[in-house]
């Protein structure tokens, strides 16, 4: 085993080992648990940072573990994997801090943090998977490890939501398994390759490959919340805030979107799938999802539900970018993987802060809340503006490249989708901001009383929200810097398109 594969192992184990240890910890060993969690998160960040440097300079990290005869588990860190891993490592770190503060005094914390870390390990596996089989295994592991998190509160509603989640995702998983097996039959390999590997076996298999493509999209579409497969996501928001945050930003939803990216770019290849006419229907499905999610979000009064529908809409930007068939659009889609994650996690952190600190769950309760919790609402405002696509926040950079891609691919209609999505995003985010900052609070609170109650959320809840909000400004404001997600996405595209 060389140092490269050791690196991969460390990245995997840095969340897996704490997970296992935490399961054996007694409930009241809070400090040790926190230390384990944070140590894992910091270690992972450090290793990921090192690997980023390596991948940038063309180093290849690979690891093969014997699994099925002739089909080993294959881990492989390319530029695209590093993108998702960096996002997950960074946001896991922030979410861990957040979760420690959020669950202070709550029961079943060992269970929670155990599964939480397992869930991160599964995400890392998904990112590193070098072939479809490995991908699928970690994808299913993710399903299993997030189930207890969604059900964590143990209320009837939570159990029901978790059950719905399981039904949807298991169904999707079964479809994926079918597609994978069929593909293996047809192509004889499952290994991801830049620019895809199916164009070689295209002759005479067009119909089969089309059906398999549809199966893949349906399978991944469940987690990526493509309409009409999105039903589980708004329900799953009963989960505790840190879970929702991770679910919407990094883990589950992103896994689905990442799967679509992998299949389109590394299995079929963007050019090949465009030539087969597979992308236009996908673009239409993504567009419908983008508009539908936003329209549904408008009508929600429950803050987390509104955010959930917003996720439905925003994640499909990634799919849309892949489906427009031009490098620029794909760049916009891929960079949105990170951008959406950072912005959405901020929104969920803030929603959690509002619920925990002020008991605010509904938008109709948010009048004047900016006065009581200026920092939380400041972070919320930044992320909401980013979602609308207002510069200098990250969302603009994604939208800009999606727009450029749409024009360069000659698909001008997609601009209309982007524009209407921006309008709808504004329509469901701006009233929240207006209520929070400019409306008078329903309870008459004087300044004196205000100074007596704790004003904003406690630091362990506030710091992660502020950090991710600041990050969403920085990655947008310095989009052209060499270390920005945009530059990294550029690197991915260069390698993907062989430019």
């Amino acid at each position: 085993m060389n140092s490269g594969s050791a690196m991969l192992l460390v990245v995997m184990l840095s969340s897996l080992v704490p997970a296992i240890l935490i399961f054996f910890l007694r409930e009241e060993r809070h400090r040790l648990r926190s230390v384990l969690n944070l140590a894992g998160a910091v270690l992972k960040l450090a290793v990921v940072g090192f690997m980023l440097w390596g991948v940038f300079h063309g180093k290849v990290y690979e690891l093969t573990i014997p699994f099925l005869p002739g089909l080993p588990l294959h881990l492989h860190a390319d530029a695209l994997s590093m993108f998702l891993i960096t996002l997950s490592a960074l946001l896991w770190f922030f979410t861990t801090i957040y979760a420690i503060g959020y669950l202070e005094g709550a029961p079943h914390r060992s269970r929670f943090f155990g599964f939480f870390s397992l869930c991160v390990s599964a995400t890392v596996g998904i990112a590193l998977a070098g072939d479809l089989l490995t991908f699928l295994i970690f994808y299913e592991l993710l399903t299993l490890t997030t189930y207890p998190l969604v059900a964590h509160k143990g209320t009837e509603k939570a159990l029901k939501a978790a059950k719905t989640y399981l039904k949807y995702t298991m169904g999707g998983g079964a479809v994926l398994l079918l597609a994978t097996v069929w593909l293996y039959q047809t192509a004889g390999t499952l290994e991801f390759r830049e620019q895809g590997f199916l164009s070689a076996v295209a002759d005479g298999n067009a119909a089969t490959l089309t059906i398999i493509f549809v199966l893949f999209i349906v399978g991944f579409g469940v987690k990526a919340a493509l309409v009409p497969l999105h039903g589980w996501l708004p329900q799953a928001m009963v989960a505790p805030a840190p879970v929702s945050a991770l679910l919407h930003a990094v883990a589950v939803v992103k896994a689905g979107a990442f799967g679509i990216v992998r299949v389109v770019s590394d299995v079929y290849g963007i050019e090949f799938s465009a030539a087969m006419g597979l992308l236009t229907p996908l673009a239409i499905a993504a567009s419908i999802t983008i508009v539908y999610g936003s329209v549904r979000a408008l009508a929600q009064d429950d803050l987390k539900r509104r955010l959930a529908f917003s996720t439905v809409s925003q994640v499909s930007y990634i799919t849309l970018g892949m489906a427009l068939g031009s490098p620029l659009a794909a760049l916009g889609g891929i960079v949105h993987l990170v951008h959406q994650g950072v912005m959405k996690i901020t929104l969920f952190f803030c929603a959690g802060n509002l619920a925990e600190t002020a008991g605010v769950f509904r938008i109709s309760q948010m009048n004047g809340i900016g006065r009581r919790m200026p920092w939380t609402m400041g972070a919320f405002t930044v992320a909401a503006f980013g979602m609308i696509g207002i510069p200098p926040i990250a969302g603009f950079v994604s939208k800009w490249h999606l727009g450029l891609g749409a024009v360069s691919a000659g698909q001008h209609w997609a601009i209309l989708i982007l524009v209407s999505s921006s309008l709808l995003n504004a329509a469901y985010f701006l009233p929240i901001l207006h209520a929070a900052w400019f409306k008078k609070s329903d309870q008459e609170i004087t300044d004196r009383e205000l100074s007596l109650v704790r004003r904003d959320a406690k630091w362990s809840l506030l710091t992660p929200a502020l950090a991710t909000a600041a990050l969403s400004i920085l990655i947008g404001l310095f989009a052209n810097a060499e270390t920005s997600p945009l530059s990294w996405a550029n690197l991915i595209m260069q390698r993907e398109f062989g430019l």
Binding site: L298, A299, L328, F385, G389, I390, P391, P392, F396, V397, K399, W400, G403, L404, A406, V407, S408, I415, L418, V419, S422, L423, A426, A427, L430, W437, F438, K440, G476, L477, F478, A479, N480, A481, E482
Partner: protein, 563 residues
């Protein structure tokens, strides 16, 4: 010494500082101990911009490659005037705000948003690439929402909602047009955009999107409805910057984005010019029917920006006329911005006048500024109008005849409109309100600049105009519309005073089309879903406050006359 200066001008940080200075001052508000500084330093936030506009040569630009998509800042052609203008108006409006907002409930919030808006506005002027332009434009738009709704009345809230809804539509249209332009030209830098190799249709679509998207800000007819609402709802310093500085942001965008000089679009240019011309007249017509002096001023802006739009149309029609059209646009924008911003300050001052002298002064200022806007001899308005006339001569042939007739008629309209304004805003003795010294200072300064600046700066441009003025023809051409307007106004005034009960002018509520649509909306509302209902209601409902405001205006004590 000059070396140091040059080095400074070529440093990215210097240019960035123009944008950052207001933000820096706004950030003082975070700490309780420095909170007051955020308020009292407001007038100094535009000082770097002011300095740079006076020292930097045209054409300087610096790159900040890591920022956004590769930021480029600097002074493009003609932007020097805009930078100076924007900085001056923000400085004086800031000075005004320090005194005028002192008893406001959310004083600090006002100043923070004022500073952020300022930062965006200054950025718009010095941005040399699309992403920076769009960013600063958006910052300006969204922060100014808080200025518009500051009063927190239902009238202000409605005004804000209308403003924001229309502004967002403008933003997304602008986004679409920029994406099209960036992809077609392969660059985001304004000075590198070349249009000769580009297929006509997409270019036309991109340009149309830009005209519409930016048209929201410059009050293009049909997209102007927010203006009367926002201008009259906002606190006076905010109205001044909205009407003086921000109104030009859309215009600047047009000048940067549209493919002037590289295309010849007789039809599209004519459409733009026609819409502008219609705006010039409809603005006057609707404005006369207003009952709040600030709404009158807002409609006057619609009308004046309509004239500027005509020039934009001329520029798109004939590339040859470009230099002279450009200088006309810049002169006109300079004149209109300074005069209009001054008018807003004077309007409030005349309402709060306590002393006789103060009243006379304000009355004189109203007359002077109104004359200027109508283009009376030896005012900045005359300079601007002469420039516009010579631009229309060199513009497309067919249009010259039309404009030669219609421009003086529009001056007549403006004269009438300003007569109406003067009547509504005429200082009347009120119970004494102490007016802060900064308020007086800012008002006097701005009125002074409005009446003098165009003669001394920009030096070269007004020279040719001054020559034109010396021969008597221009003088007569600029006198008769004003005289005619004044006579018609006076006659109307006397006639209506004779007939009691007074005959009143028909009334159109501010936001004209919106009020009409609100009736339609009410019909739709009955059978539409809750969702749609809430949204439409928030934009279209004629609020009871509309009539509140007009009632308040009518009840002003000891009115001298009323039309």
């Amino acid at each position: 010494m000059t070396e140091i200066l040059n080095e400074l001008l070529n440093a990215g940080g210097t240019w960035l500082f123009i944008i950052l200075a207001p933000l820096l001052i706004a950030s003082f508000a975070v700490f309780p101990s420095t909170r007051k500084m955020a308020i009292y330093l407001t007038p100094f936030a535009a000082a770097p911009a002011l300095l740079l506009s006076l020292t930097a040569p045209v054409g300087v630009s610096v790159d900040l490659p890591a920022l956004l998509l590769g930021t480029r800042l600097g002074l493009g052609e003609g932007m020097q005037v805009f930078l100076l203008l924007t900085a001056v108006i923000w400085t004086l409006a800031g000075l005004y705000a320090v005194g005028a907002m002192r008893s406001s409930e959310h004083r600090l919030r006002f100043h923070i948003l004022f500073l952020i808006t300022m930062s965006g506005n200054l950025g718009v002027v010095i941005a040399q690439d699309m992403a920076t332009f769009y960013t600063t434009f958006a910052v300006m738009t969204f922060a100014s929402y808080g200025l518009v709704i500051h009063a927190n009345t239902s009238y202000a809230t409605r005004a804000g909602r209308v403003y924001l809804s229309m502004a967002i539509v403008g933003e997304v249209l602008l986004f679409a047009s920029m994406v099209v332009f960036a992809q077609l030209t392969g660059t985001i830098y304004f000075d590198e955009m070349r249009f000769d190799q580009i297929p006509a249709t997409p270019l036309l679509i991109g340009s149309a999107l830009a005209v519409l998207g930016l048209g929201v800000k410059s009050g293009l007819l049909g997209l102007h409805m927010w203006m009367p609402l926002a201008y009259s709802a906002a606190p006076t310093p905010a109205s001044a910057v909205l009407s003086g500085a921000m109104v030009n942001a859309g215009l600047i965008g047009w000048l940067r984005l549209l493919p002037f000089g590289q295309v010849e679009w007789p039809v599209f240019g004519a459409i733009v010019a026609a819409v502008g011309l219609a705006g010039a007249f409809i603005g006057v017509a609707f404005g006369i029917m207003q009952r709040h002096p600030k709404s009158v001023l807002a409609y006057s802006s619609v009308s004046q920006m309509g004239l500027v739009t005509v020039m934009i149309g001329l520029g798109l029609m004939s590339p040859n006329a470009l230099p002279i059209v450009f200088s006309a646009i810049i002169l006109y924008a300079l004149h209109h911005a300074l005069v209009k911003a001054s008018l807003f300050l004077v309007e409030e001052n005349s309402r709060t006048s306590s002393g006789v002298l103060h009243r006379y002064l304000m009355g004189a200022a109203i007359v002077l500024l109104s004359l200027s806007l109508a283009g009376a001899p030896f005012t900045s308005g005359m300079v601007a109008k002469v420039a516009m006339k010579s631009a229309s001569i060199s513009g497309a042939g067919d249009w010259y005849g039309t404009l030669a007739v219609l421009l003086p008629v529009s001056s007549l309209g403006t004269a009438l409109l300003m007569f109406r304004f003067a009547v509504l805003a005429w200082p009347a003795p009120t119970h004494s309100i102490s007016v802060s010294r900064t308020v007086k200072l800012a008002t006097v300064f701005l009125v002074g600049l409005a009446s003098t600046l165009i003669w001394i700066w920009p030096a070269g441009t007004s020279q040719s105009v001054a020559n034109d003025i010396v021969n008597g023809k221009s003088i007569w051409a600029s006198i008769w519309p004003v005289l005619a307007g004044a006579i018609i106004g006076l006659v109307t005034l006397i006639v209506t005073r004779r007939h009691r009960p007074r005959r009143r002018l028909p009334y159109i509520p501010p936001g004209d089309l919106l009020s009409w649509t609100s009736a339609q909306i009410r019909k739709v509302r009955r059978n539409s879903s809750q969702l749609l209902r809430d949204w439409l209601e928030s934009c279209g409902r004629p609020s009871s406050e509309v009539s509140d405001i007009s009632r308040r205006v009518e009840k002003r004590p000891h009115r001298v006359f009323d039309i």
